[in-house]
Structures are given as structure tokens and as C-alpha cells.
């Protein structure tokens, strides 16, 4: 019986629900007998072994499905295994012996499946990674500077009336970055002023110098806190929104449409965004200063034995106009920085839903870290200049 194919022990009773298969008949004309219930969801679909068919070029395999009870794509998965093994073994399948639907599904499936395309994950050395990152970040600085220059050029052209920035966009952006931000900027700066006053009052009271709480709050708000806190809020609120909006436009091919029309993204998208932040940030800074001092005032009056007039007088004598200009300048730079980087991150983003999230997150992180880093640079400059 050498030319007889071994058959599996046969135990298929009519009531047997498990999917079973066995081969019978001669090697040149084997018959695949299928029985039982073949449901993919049951999770018990057998795999046809890779060596299940001996090499027998020209052999002809037919099917016997009379004992088959219920089947779905699970059976087709098994038959696909068989189809591939049969192809390798040079055995042809007699598709006519399969029921019509099964045959139609099986015919859709390739005998030799295409190899899945894999992502090439080339391993890079540590040094190479560092180098790549360094080059990438230098490039990024260059790109952002170029974008800034283009935007500035767009602004000049707009002023000369030779380029078109839509005033509607500027107004909408300004409203969003200005009036609508007042509440959150107010709350945060009020609390910062109050916290400063509180911390100062506890210590200064020991030296009976409670009145200097006014100077502490005034100088801290004007020089640092109002500008930095406002910028951080705007980075989270407006910068994230810009990045998300522009990356969504990227996904909808809106940016491509602008490019095809020759409408420069720098004037149409970035200029209103940056300009609105440059316009609103100084106002928000002044507003933040005042509200912060008010916060300090409320805490100082309620905790310490000082008069309102005394606090007011101490505040206005505490700092000179140079410190105001210093904070004011910083807020302008922060505004431009947040506007430019968030637009750049939006433009650079990919086109999927996940990329929008990544762009928004990155804009906020870069905005906050960048604002604090720029503030540190300003501190060094101020120290050198003696402001």
C-alpha cells in the first residue's frame, strides 16, 4: 500500500460537531473529506499541515463535503492553507467538487500570497542618532527663521498694500487670542499675584517689612511672571489650536489647494496667526500685571496691617519704566515665537487623525519650553545690560 495516502483515524459520527478532515484514496487522486461544523468564531479551525500533501505533480485532489454541516469563512481559511500547500506540491484542486459559494470565495484567494511589505527599521548607531537629531534641529531652526522672514516680508507687503492678508482672518484670530483669553489670563495672574504676596508676607512680616510685599509683587509681575504666565497660557490655548487647525487643513488637502492657487501660506495662514499674537500679547501682559498686583493687594490688605494707599504708593515707586519695557518686549517676542512655532509644527504634521494630536501636543510642549528658555536668555541679557 505504498501509493496509498495515510488517513487519519476516522471517528466522525454524524453528531460530531468538531471540524474534521482526512484524506483518502490514491496518491494521484486523493479525496479531501470534510465533516462537522466549521465556524471561524469557534476558534477550533485546524491548520492544514505544510507537509500534508506529498509531492505528486499532476495529482488531482477532489473534495467530498456531504458530511459538512455548517461552515463559514473558517473553512475557507483551512481550504486556503490547502490551496497553498497543494500549489507547492504540484497538486491541482478539483474546484468543481466544492459547493458553489465555497468555490467562489476560494477562487478569490491567491495560491502564492504576496509578501507583506515591512517597514525597514534600519538600526542606527548612537552617534548617528545624535548627529541626525542635531542636523534635524539645526534645519528646523533654519526653517522656522525662513518662515519668520517670509511672514515678516508678507507683513511689509501687506502694509504697502501689495499683498493680501484677509482682515477677516486677522480679526477672527485676534478676537480668539485676545478678548476670549481674558478670563483665563486674569484668573491665573490674579492667583500668581496672590501666591507671591502670600509667600512674601509670611517672611517679610518677621522683619516688620510687610509693606515691601507691594514691591515684591510689583517687580515680580512686571519683570517676569505676567509675561511668562501669559505666554504659557497662550502656548497651551492658542498655539495648540493653531497647530491642530493647520494640521487638519493639511489632512484635508486645504494647504495643497492654497499652494496650487499660489496663495502663500505665510501670508494667508501664518501672518494673521503670528500678528494676532503679537498684537494681543502686550495687552494681555499689561492686563496680567494689573490683575496680578490686584491679587497681591487683596492678600496683603487682608493679611497685613497696611493701607490701600500705602500699598499703591509702594507699588508705583518699586519699579521704573525700564522694567516695564523689559517685560513688554518679552511678551512681544513670546507672541511671535508661539505663533511661528505652532504654525510650523502644524504645517510639518502628517495627514492622519493621530498626527493632529501629535502636532497639537508638540506645539504646546515646544511653546512652553521655548518660552521659559527665551525668558532665561532675557534674564542673562538683562543682567549684562544691568536693567
Amino acid at each position: 500500500m505504498t501509493d496509498q495516502i495515510e488517513t487519519e483515524p476516522q471517528a466522525a459520527q454524524p453528531a460530531d460537531r468538531t471540524p474534521r478532515w482526512y484524506l483518502q484514496g490514491e496518491q494521484t487522486a486523493p479525496v479531501m473529506v470534510l465533516s462537522g461544523i466549521w465556524k471561524a468564531r469557534a476558534g477550533n479551525i485546524p491548520v492544514f499541515p505544510k507537509d500534508g500533501l506529498k509531492k505528486a505533480p499532476g495529482a488531482h485532489l477532489s473534495f467530498q463535503t456531504s458530511d459538512l454541516q455548517v461552515w463559514d469563512t473558517g473553512l475557507v481559511a483551512f481550504l486556503w492553507d490547502l490551496k497553498r500547500v497543494a500549489h507547492d506540491a504540484g497538486v491541482s484542486l478539483d474546484m468543481r467538487t466544492l459547493p458553489g459559494p465555497m468555490r467562489q470565495l476560494l477562487e478569490l484567494l491567491p495560491e502564492v500570497p504576496d509578501e507583506p511589505v515591512h517597514h525597514k527599521t534600519a538600526r542606527t548607531s548612537f552617534l548617528e542618532t545624535v548627529g541626525n537629531h542635531a542636523v534635524a534641529s539645526m534645519t528646523e531652526v533654519g526653517v522656522v527663521s525662513e518662515l519668520g522672514a517670509l511672514t515678516a516680508k508678507g507683513a511689509v507687503l501687506t502694509l504697502l498694500g501689495r499683498s493680501r492678508m484677509r482682515m477677516v482672518d486677522l480679526l477672527a484670530n485676534t478676537a480668539d487670542a485676545g478678548p476670549y483669553a481674558l478670563l483665563i489670563v486674569g484668573i491665573v495672574n490674579f492667583l500668581i499675584g496672590a501666591i507671591l504676596a502670600f509667600v512674601g508676607a509670611v517672611e517679610l512680616q518677621k522683619f516688620a517689612a510687610g509693606i515691601y510685599v507691594a514691591s515684591l509683587v510689583g517687580i515680580a509681575m512686571v519683570r517676569e511672571m505676567a509675561a511668562v504666565m501669559t505666554a504659557i497660557i497662550m502656548a497651551g490655548r492658542t498655539g495648540g489650536a493653531y497647530a491642530a487647525r493647520i494640521s487638519t487643513m493639511q489632512g484635508n488637502e486645504e494647504i495643497d489647494a492654497l499652494n496650487v492657487f499660489g496663495i502663500p501660506t505665510s501670508t494667508y495662514l501664518i501672518l494673521p496667526a503670528v500678528l494676532s499674537l503679537i498684537i494681543t500679547m502686550p495687552f494681555l501682559y499689561l492686563y496680567g500685571c494689573l490683575i496680578g498686583m490686584l491679587g497681591g493687594f487683596v492678600v496683603a490688605i487682608s493679611m497685613l496691617d497696611i493701607t490701600a494707599a500705602g500699598y499703591f504708593h509702594q507699588t508705583i515707586t518699586a519699579f521704573h519704566i525700564g522694567q516695564f519695557i523689559f517685560g513688554f518686549t518679552k511678551s512681544l517676542v513670546f507672541g511671535a515665537f508661539i505663533g511661528l512655532t505652532s504654525c510650523r509644527i502644524g504645517l510639518k504634521a502628517g495627514r492622519s487623525a493621530a498626527d493632529v494630536g501629535i502636532a497639537a501636543t508638540r506645539a504646546v510642549v515646544v511653546g512652553i519650553v521655548g518660552v521659559i528658555a527665551i525668558d532665561a536668555i532675557f534674564a542673562v541679557i538683562a543682567d549684562v545690560l544691568g536693567i
Binding site: D72, A77, P101, L108, P110, P113, V117, S352, D355
Partner: protein, 255 residues
């Protein structure tokens, strides 16, 4: 039972707030048929499909899936019924953060207890049906629009649904790919024994595959014809349906 009704709508009105999209829709979808929802742009074809897959509750009327009243039951009941549905959205609607393979595996992971290797095998099978096996590890952003559609079809088949809904399956595809998709749909219908509801205005494909249908009118906001696209083309006397089926300009010029 060749004439068993799988889906039936009775006097359904669809509206967004006060704005009525379509009213008095009644239709029966027979088991194993390919049912076409036809009509000009903006007539509410996609809205009807949305309602049939449970995304929009009709403001009036009844919707039966098999013997069950779809909107009468609880949300959980609707979710169970939805597992009989497979939906191919207009642009594929693949989840962009996952590879094509993961997209198809997700419903299997969520709603079955199958082991990962079994799931992988089924995912390969579904991708094999649509001829996309090579893209199993690619992200949706890395494949073309036509491939995305086929991958969306594979995902619609993930849970072996017996009712498939296709929203504009051949829109944006070249004629050859579109014809191949038609054959694929026919093969899947015959092979899986599924019932298919298809929203389309791709006439050649409608004539080729659909064997029943409904024609929605944007002006009167009601269905104006029932029947297979072929019989509507040959027999329907309504001027608007006639114009649609023969690609003529509407004489009144206000569609």
C-alpha cells in the same frame, strides 16, 4: 426561503432637527439581494444608510432587522444587532493610528475570544479576499485610496456579518478597479450568502450588480420608484428616474 426579508423600513421619516431629509420611506431588502439606494446628489441617500446602520434615529416610522424592531430596543440590543452589519464607509474610514492588519483585527479582539494566532489567520484571510495581503503591516496613510477602500471592505467582513452596507464603494476608483470591486462584491455575496445594501450613483456598476433598489427624490423628499436599476432603466416612466438612468439632463433643470 428565497424571499425572506432581512431589513424592512415602514414609513420612515429622516430629519436633522426641523429639517426633513426624506419622508415616507418604505422598503424591504430580501435575503441575499443587492439592494441599491439611488438618487441625485443631496437627496439623502447617505442619510438613509446612516439611519440603517444605527447612526441616526428616524423621527418617525419603524425599522426591522430580521424580526427585531431596531430602534425599540436598548442601546446594547442595537449593538448586538450591529454585529450582523458590516459597513464600508465612503473613504474607507480606517483607523489611522493602526496598521491595516490591526484595523481588521480590532473587532475580532473586542468581540471574540479567539487567540492572537487565530485572529492573525482570519485577518490574512479577509485581506486575501480583497487581494490586499501585502499591505497587512502598512498604515492607512501609506496606501492608495482604492486600497484603503478594499481594506475597509476587509474590515467590514471581519466579524462575518450577514448584512453589508456600502457607501459609494466605487466612487473615486478607476473603471477597472471599480469593475473588479463589483465582481468582488458579487463573489462575496454569493460566497458568504450576505445581503448587501449599496448607496451609489455609479450606473454601470448598479446595472451590473444590483437586483433591487429604491430611488429617492430630492425635491419631493420621498422615494419615487422601487425596483432593480435595470428594470427602472427599461420600464420606469418617471421623467426624473428616466433622466438619471439614462444620464440625461433633467428637462426642468432644477435637480
Amino acid at each position: 426561503m428565497p424571499d425572506q426579508t432581512v431589513l424592512s423600513l415602514r414609513d420612515v421619516t429622516l430629519s436633522f432637527g426641523p429639517k426633513v431629509i426624506q419622508k415616507n420611506i418604505s422598503l424591504d431588502v430580501r435575503k441575499g439581494s443587492i439592494f441599491a439606494v439611488m438618487g441625485g446628489s443631496g437627496c439623502g441617500k447617505s442619510t438613509l444608510l446612516k439611519s440603517m446602520i444605527g447612526l441616526l434615529r428616524p423621527s418617525a416610522g419603524e425599522y426591522h432587522v430580521g424580526d427585531e424592531n431596531y430602534w425599540a430596543g436598548s442601546e446594547a440590543h442595537r449593538t448586538d444587532l450591529n454585529h450582523r452589519f458590516g459597513v464600508l464607509f465612503q473613504s474607507g474610514a480606517l483607523w489611522s493610528s493602526m496598521t491595516v492588519g490591526e484595523n481588521i483585527a480590532l473587532p475580532l479582539q473586542m468581540f471574540t475570544d479567539l487567540k492572537p494566532d487565530v485572529i492573525r489567520r482570519l485577518v490574512e484571510l479577509k485581506l486575501g479576499f480583497v487581494g490586499m495581503l501585502q499591505a497587512i503591516d502598512l498604515y492607512p496613510s501609506e496606501i492608495s485610496g482604492g486600497m484603503r477602500k478594499r481594506a475597509g471592505l476587509a474590515r467590514a467582513l471581519a466579524l462575518d456579518p450577514d448584512i453589508l452596507f456600502f457607501d459609494e464603494p466605487s466612487a473615486g476608483l478607476d473603471p477597472i478597479t471599480s469593475a473588479r470591486l463589483d465582481d468582488l462584491i458579487l463573489n462575496l455575496r454569493d460566497g458568504l450568502g450576505a445581503t448587501i445594501v449599496i448607496v451609489s450613483h455609479e450606473l454601470p456598476s448598479l446595472f451590473h450588480i444590483a437586483d433591487d433598489g429604491i430611488f429617492l427624490d430630492a425635491r419631493t423628499k420621498t422615494p419615487i420608484a422601487h425596483g432593480s436599476p435595470r428594470s427602472l432603466r427599461d420600464n420606469c416612466t418617471d421623467p426624473q428616474v428616466h433622466a438619471f438612468m439614462h444620464r440625461e439632463r433633467d428637462e426642468e433643470g432644477n435637480t
